[in-house]
């Protein structure tokens, strides 16, 4: 399935229905920079865990990623473009409201979605994310050339088969053009922030949760790359979304 969107960029997504439906509110999973639904969520055990819990899963490959179109113009990667993609997809799917779970860049976009269209979001989980500017110190005219945490992430994902390094660089520049602001805080929607204890890109996760009146869950021993597959993370989210 796919949604055709502004600027002729097509975003593709999966819509997975459980065999025995439980909660009627689908879970929208937003992957991180340079990955896609399959790698970030499905391979990490999330599709199966949510299906077992009776939850419908909507999993887009965000623009510039996976099976979706990959423009190389950074002006097409502003947060509002991603939000427009997601709202068009929900409209097309006839979904009024979702629980949204993001990881890394996907968390930033989950925040933007919940801020822009709070009536479409029941609960929000921000994984691998905090108040720190993810691009701090990175030369975005040549991402991957330095030794910041983001340079390291960029080098890893730019080399993955199927990824377009130019599109990813454009995506990073588009995201950085609208630096994340934790003000005003996201209130009125139950919020949980989850981060690995060794995640250098999620500094300020606890503070972000506190500002929004939410909860923070720390995954011991995990970093930005391996917190997402941890059983403790999945279980915390399942409990939060069911509560």
């Amino acid at each position: 399935m796919s949604a055709n969107l502004a600027g002729d960029v097509t975003m593709r997504y999966v819509d997975l229905h459980p065999q025995a439906p439980g909660d009627g509110v689908p879970v929208l999973l937003l992957h991180g920079f340079g990955t896609d639904f399959g790698m970030n969520w499905r391979a990490a055990g999330w599709a199966q865990a949510l299906e077992t819990a009776g939850r419908r899963v909507i999993g887009p490959d965000l623009r510039g990623h996976g099976t979706s179109d990959k423009p190389t113009d950074s002006a097409l990667y502003l947060p509002e473009h991603f939000v427009a993609d997601l709202l068009a997809m929900l409209d097309e799917s006839g979904v009024d409201k979702v629980d949204v779970v993001g990881y890394s860049m996907g968390s930033r976009l989950a925040w933007e979605l919940a801020s822009t269209a709070p009536e479409r979001v029941r609960r929000v989980v921000l994984g691998g994310f905090g108040t720190k500017n993810a691009f701090a110190g990175t030369d975005l005219s040549d991402p991957g050339s330095g030794d910041t945490p983001f340079d390291t992430v960029y080098r890893t994902v730019a080399a993955l088969p199927g990824n377009d390094a130019a599109a990813l660089a454009a995506c990073a520049r588009g995201q950085a053009a609208r630096p994340f602001e934790a003000e005003p805080p996201l209130t009125g929607i139950p919020l949980m922030v989850v981060s690995g204890a060794r995640d250098a890109l999620a500094e300020g996760a606890a503070e972000l949760a506190e500002r929004c009146g939410g909860t923070h869950v720390e995954i011991p021993g995990r970093d930005h790359a391996n917190a997402v597959s941890s059983r403790a993370f999945r279980q915390a989210v399942l409990d939060f979304l069911a509560g």
């Binding site: 391979a43 199966q48 088969p161 790359a225 391996n226 597959s229 059983r231």
Partner: protein, 113 residues
């Protein structure tokens, strides 16, 4: 019911990866697991993944400690599974061990021009 052991080796995780690090076992020795249930969480240089169980059975042995690096093709876990050639309870008569294969229509000679 007859039991047999089945040892599952670390599968090829793609992209030329030759090894993975065991992060966390999702099962313990003695557990009875379903096919496709989460088995073990591993990390490669590219990503972290949860490998689903390829079999239903009882966990007999885990071949790697957490944080241990396992090469592709090396033993990961041994299951005790029900032997495949035993008749299943509740079925009267013989169950063919192998389903009759559907006839395939294959053109053996290239069409002449």
């Amino acid at each position: 019911m007859a039991q047999e052991n089945f040892t599952f080796t670390l599968p090829d995780l793609g992209e030329g990866l030759v090894e993975a690090t065991v992060l966390e076992w999702q099962v313990a020795v003695g557990d009875v697991v379903e096919r496709n249930a989460p088995l073990v969480e591993v990390e490669t240089t590219k990503s972290a993944v949860v490998i689903p169980s390829p079999k239903a059975g009882r966990i007999a042995e885990l071949h790697a400690e957490e944080e241990q690096v396992v090469p592709v093709g090396e033993p990961l876990v041994t299951f005790e599974v029900e032997a495949a050639d035993e008749p299943q309870a509740g079925i009267v008569g013989r169950v063919p061990a192998e389903e009759a294969r559907p006839a395939r229509r294959v053109r053996l000679r290239p069409p002449s021009d």
